[in-house]
Amino acid sequence: MPAIKPRPRSLAYAGLAYIVAAIFLLPYVEMVVSALRPANEMLDRTYVPTHWNWHNFVDIWTTDFGQSLRISLEVASGSTLLVLLAAIPAAYYTARYRFLGRTTFLLLVLVTQMFQPTAMLVGIYREFLSFGLIDSVIALILVNAGFNLAFAVWILNAYISAIPVELEEAASIDGASRVGTLFRIVLPLALPGIVTALIFTFINAWNEFIVALTLTTSPATEPLTVMLNSYIGQYQVDWSHLFAGSVIATFPVIILFALIEGKVVSGLTAGSIK
């Protein structure tokens, strides 16, 4: 009997999950459909246009779109790497060692997260001016890393705290070094947390707009968000290109996610085999 039971149940789960997933995709489907509307059908009371205007998705590549896409990729991956390199040791340290003001540190981490960059534009601009980094990709990487570091440390701290210390103690009795245990025991177990932090940082950096707008001065350093913003004009909005560009812009994130999601699953399987 247990062999038969899971099947219809898993199908029911599947059905439900597909419906939920579809609901979460709906607005983006509407985005694609609107991007494909020819100009004279833009405001029609219809679900889909009578003519499909495919060239919006093609001619957007003749502009600076490709370049901005590359910059966004650089900024998002650069700041994600920076964040992970800084956050993993920091989270490990705060999770494993009681040091004076540990709670204060965590609180500080949270405090930094409460501020919108909007409130601090002038300060940020002034800062990077003094570093001579206005209009550079490096500046965008640093700002995004700075703003997301707090989150990453906080998330990782929670996951690393949940790993039993005994596991590490066992490893160190077996003669493994601190760094060795970090890499071989803690990191694999904290992998879901690391992936969450990674995706979180990547997406935040990918979609950051207001700082990029302030710190960039030429198309050569404009990430996608700033570039797409130019489709919202003073008198009119170029809906088809705005939507087409936005749809394309979400794909790198979903691809990254698809790649990593597989890694998590295999990492977990490896963990359970052990």
Partner: protein, 412 residues
């Protein structure tokens, strides 16, 4: 693998830093002017960057010792951007877009006659707006004027002979178009540009934001009466619902798609109509904006300015050379044509009238155009009007106008 990727990334960025640095050193040899302009285009394809770059390149070819670095900023972010630069003392040399009298007040700007050989050519009607303490700083660059756009096709369908001249006619006509299932009159009182639409209505009843002596008169009796009429218009359903939440861009698009009977528009609506491809040239027309008893004698004229920042004062001659070059009629006409605006100079307007006769009515309205108040507090009051005037459509317009008037007095 991660470390390898990171290393190469770091290496790459460091190299690009060095490249940027060495580039900056090489350029130091001749004068570099930074020009920051508002972007009038929609999307990179018709960005103003191209317009200015063409001029900058032609200028550099004629004057190899001067290089003009062009930067454009989306209109919606232009003010913030310039502000950030000025607050950080990173003065651009030339700006084109909104003009801020406070920068003149702070002594940051060159006077118009210091950086332009013929300061009389920019349209005299707008020089007052660019002035501070009797001296002119802002140089009119591009202008626009407002008119009533109406959908002739819908008007014919509703059996209306021509554009309305009075408020009562406007209300009757709007009602007839409403009966056809379209928006009768498009009333954009959302935060985007409400100060323009509001002023056009106030003018129709002999009102405005200021009294003749320049004192704020936002809550005058005429203005209250005007808002009461607008409320009546909204409540009978002759406009779109909840105009306080509707922005101009959306209504302009709807007009271009034939869904709005009439609205106050500007020349920038022309390309929108063309791109939408729904209305032909015979389907729409323009007329003078209706007032309470008859059409407006003066319409609203809006002007964007060029301003030159002093910096350390050493670049005055270079700026002058460039501005003389950029203000040539051919460039004035090219700009007006490209963005469907009007030239900012008298000679440019004359040249433009020959190129595009269809816009002559808009051009001839310019010399007697009404303008926004020329007061340092206007920027603040404008945002107050934009945010709050929509709530004046309702049972108590007076209290809303009172509140804005109070804010205006507080700002002064």
């Amino acid at each position: 693998m991660h470390t390898v990727r990171f290393r190469s990334l770091l290496l790459g960025t460091l190299t690009s830093c060095f490249l940027a640095l060495s580039g900056a050193v090489a350029a130091q040899a001749d004068t570099v002017l930074t020009l920051v302009a508002a972007d009038y285009g929609t999307g990179p394809a018709d960005s103003s960057l191209k317009y200015w770059q063409t001029i900058a390149d032609a200028f550099h070819a004629a004057n190899p010792a001067i290089t003009v670095k062009v930067q454009t900023v989306n209109w919606n972010d232009f003010d913030t951007k310039i502000q950030t630069m000025v607050q950080n003392r990173q003065y651009p040399d030339i700006t084109e877009g909104d003009y801020f009298s406070n920068y003149a007040q702070e002594g940051l700007l060159f006077k118009a006659r210091e950086v332009l050989s013929d300061p009389g050519n920019p349209m005299p009607v707008f020089t007052q707006l660019g002035s501070y303490d009797g001296a002119q700083y802002g140089i009119p660059f591009t202008t626009s004027s407002r008119a009533l756009f109406y959908n002739k096709k819908l008007f014919a369908e509703a059996g209306i002979a021509g554009a309305p001249k009075t408020w009562d006619e406007l209300m009757t006509d709007a009602g007839k178009i409403r009966a056809l299932g379209h928006i009768g009159y498009g009333l954009p009182l959302g935060p985007e540009e409400a100060q323009a639409e509001t002023l056009l209505w106030l003018l129709g009843n002999g009102g405005g934001y200021q009294a003749a002596d320049g004192a704020w008169a936002i809550n005058s009796a005429q203005n209250v009466e005007t808002l009461q009429f607008m409320t009546k218009l909204v409540q009978t359903g002759d406009t779109e619902p909840n105009p306080g939440t509707k922005n101009r861009a959306d209504l302009l698009a709807q007009f271009a798609h034939g869904q709005v009977g009439m609205l106050n528009g500007l020349t920038a609506l022309l390309p929108i109509i063309k791109q939408a491809g729904v209305l032909t040239d015979n389907d729409w027309g323009t007329a003078t904006i209706a007032g309470k008893a008859g059409p407006l004698e003066k319409t609203l004229g809006v002007c964007d300015f060029v301003a030159a920042f002093k910096g350390d004062g050493s670049k005055r001659e270079a700026i002058k050379q460039f501005l003389d070059f950029a203000y040539q009629d051919k460039y004035q006409v090219a700009f007006a044509e490209r963005y469907n605006l009007l030239p900012g100079t008298t000679s440019g307007a004359a040249a433009f009238a020959k190129v595009d006769p269809a816009l002559v009515p808009f051009l001839s309205a310019l010399p007697k155009a009404v303008q926004y108040p020329n007061a340092p507090a206007w920027a603040q009051i404008k945002t107050q009007i934009q945010q709050n005037i929509g709530t004046a459509i309702g049972p108590d317009p007076k209290s809303v106008l009172d509140a804005i008037q109070q804010a205006a007095l507080k700002a002064n």
